[in-house]
Each structure stands twice: as C-alpha cells, then as structure tokens.
Amino acid sequence: MSRKSYSRHIPDFRLVTHYAESRTSLVHRINPWTKAVLLVFVILFVIIIQDPYLLAILLVATVAFYAAARLPLTLLLGWYSLPVFFVLTLAVLFVFSEPGRQLASFTLLGTRIALTENGALLVVNLLMRALAAVTFSLAFFMTTRYTNIAVIASKSLPKPLDNIFLLSYRFTFETSDEVADVLDAMRSRSGGLVKGVSRQTKMFAGIIGLAFVHAFERAERIAKAMEARGFTGTFPMTEKIPRMSYGDYALIGLVALALAIVAYSRYFNNLIGW
C-alpha cells in the first residue's frame, strides 16, 4: 500500500499504482491494449472536437469511465487542480481579449476590460478538453497493472527511451518515498515552522539537492548491479498481455467510427451540424 501522497493536488504514482494493483472492476478487466488505444482516441477527440456540447459529452463519458472503475471522485477533483491551473494561466487573458459579444465589463486603471462570450467559451472548451484527457489518462493508469504498463511502454517506445521509462518508472516509488521521508524528518524537527522566504528556500533547496545526490548514488549502484548481471540493453518481461477479444475490437471499432465521423465533419464535410 503506498503512503499518503504529500500533495492533494498532484497525482502520486504510488497511489495510482495502488489502485491499479489492489482494486477490481469492469474497467480493470478491460484489456490494457484496448484502454491504451481508447486513450489515444480520447486525445484525438479532444483535439478534433470543436463543439462545446460534444466536448461536454466527451468529458461526462470519461468521468463515467473513471467512476465505472470504482475510483474515488473526490481524489479526481483534487487532481484536477493542475490541469485547471495550466489552462487558466494560459487562457486567463484570452477571456478578456477575445473578440465577440461582451458579457460583463469593468474598468481597471482607466482601461475598460470586458469579459467576452467567445473568451469565456474558449476557456470552457479548453478546460473540458484538458479535463477529459486527464480523466481518461488517470483512469487508464489507475486500472492497469504496473507490469502491463511496462509491457505497453516497452512495445510502444523506441529504444532506449523504453529503458529509461522502465527504469525510472521502477524507481520513482523509492525516490518518492525517500523524499517523503526527508520531508517528514524535517517536519518532525519543526522544520515547517521556519520563517522567512530565504530560510525556507535554502532548506528546501537542501532537500532537493540531497534527493539528487541520492539519485546519482542510486544510479551508480543500479548500473553496477546491471553490469554485474550482464545487462545487454533489454529488460526482459515475462508478463504477456492477452490478445484483444472480439468485444475489445468491437469497442475500438465503434469509437474509431465515431472519431472518423467527427474528423470528417471537422475537416471535410459537416455531417453533424458543427
């Protein structure tokens, strides 16, 4: 069981893996390759769909997928913080500068600033796109076992990126634990009560610096262990993902068809009244 994440706003891979390893649901039982393909389709939907109603349906569908996996929605809401923050930091100015019908306006330092309909719609669309992608991505990782993720990564990433991914994925748990331990040790010595920007910054810089030192030392040990066991450039994987069933192909086919219609509507001939 992974430890409590030290941030409610940033998904922790230890917690993500815990849900993947220890829970069961219909979604957990879906073939990992099927879920991976669906993730790609969701990303494509997110990019291609322009209609806000369709985007809303997409978002609802991804949240339903997440909920069907019996994953905690409160956790998801907390984890929405990052993508919401990123979208808002990107689009906050667009809300006031997009041409279009004004919804509200105010004066700031002698300048008239107006919130426009197009601006608000832009932000809402960007948020729905981002959240749909994030929701499905988290659902995928929280319902797919670690070993299956490793197999998918080894088959879909080019060498040696697959090795970097596999090795870093493996050790991200230990590194996160180490950093959490150091933070706990700091807090237990009232480190959290240190006042002053400079002192706080120096203290945390020391923690981060120490984390890098440990990382390099661990890298030394790992390299030696790999060399001692004759590493030749490939991590063997015994886990096999079963072939996709007809049901999986049918599901993928249906979603692909929907994607094709949406893409055709966007780029060629509006079939769905865009």
Partner: protein, 232 residues
Amino acid sequence: MAHVHLEDGSFTLFWVLIWSALAAGLVSIALYRQGRGQIPTRKLAIASMCVAVGFAAFQIEIPVFGGVHLNLTPLMGILVGPALGSLSVLTINVFSAAIGHGGWSMIGANTLVNMVEVFLGFYAYRFLRGYAKVERFYSGFGAAAIALTVSALVAVLIVSVSEIQGSTQTRAQTMANMLVLAIANIVMGLFEGVVTGYIVSFLGKVRPDLIGESAPARTEGIEDRLEVAADV
C-alpha cells in the same frame, strides 16, 4: 510555475504533429550523441534516476509565495548535460502527461521548451562557472534564470505560431497575451534560479563532482564534465 505547460486540445492536430516531429528530431540527435541509440548502462541509470528525482522533486511544495513547485530542468542540464538531459525531460513529460501535468499531444511542444531549458542551463552554467569564474550560487542562479527566461519566450513563440485552438485572435494578439504570461513565468523563473543557485551551492559542498568541479569519484561516464578547479 516556472514553465508554460500546455494541456491537450490547446493546439490543432497540424501543430501537434509539427512540434512532435521537431521534438522527435532533436531527441534523435540527442540519442545519436549518446552512442547511436545505445546508451551506456551508467548513463541509462543516471538519466532514469534524474527522471525519478525530477518527478519526485516536483511534488515538493516550497511554502513561499503561496506554494511553489519547480521543474528543475536547468539543474538537470547542469548535472547531466544537454543530450542526456533532453532524454530525461522527454521521459518526464511522458510521466507528467499521464497525471495531467501537460497533455499527451503536447509532449512534443513541452519537450521543446524543456530542451531549451536543459541546453541553456548547461551551457550558461559552463560559461559562468567555467569561463567567467563566477561563484557557484550566482552561476546556478544565472544559468537557470537565463534558461527559464529564454524558454518562456520560446513558449510564447510556440503558442503564438500555433495559436490557441478556438481562439479568433490574430497571431499578434495571441503573442501580446502570451508575453504578459511570459513575464509572470520569468518572475517565477527568477525564483527557481535562486533555488537552483542554492542547490548548486549545496552540491558543490557535498558532491562537487556532480557539478563537474573535481575529478569524478566513481561516476565515470557522466557526459560533458566541466574542467573547473575546485572552489575551496
């Protein structure tokens, strides 16, 4: 935040493919520099641990200014060099996309921005510390500040050229908006510069070999080592 992280759907499919192809090309160059796609085991381990710790370090919230998270990509450039650093930031972006810190389709664009940080972080530090003999803290600060300022402007360029999907503004208007954001990012970049400066000072005391300031102790294989006399 010290970076602009773009979420899925920000760009059209065309620009997603363009930036992805460009990032793939630069990563291929980085891979070629590491030995034609075959990374030595030690470098593989170092790159992987950089990813793991960079990811873990991002989760640390520094309780100043309401809470700040850093990416430390210029620091990675200082520690492992531009080629290995590029591979590391690409992998970090893959992990990040998985948890919603940047989009899957934005991995290309985000990686380009991060590669600028890694590249400039390394060369700026090398110049400041190695050539100009500036103190460690100021070298680290300067390298990170330069890297993050330039990368903020690169992000402005990328977003301005691609335009935000759904926006009806012109490129010039988009650029004007993005420049306002860039200023905010540059200010945060200065803070990250301070943190980087402190980290580099710390490393200089405990493991100077990691920042290339003495002969490597049992760390053969770390690329592009600086040849700087130890600062006593």
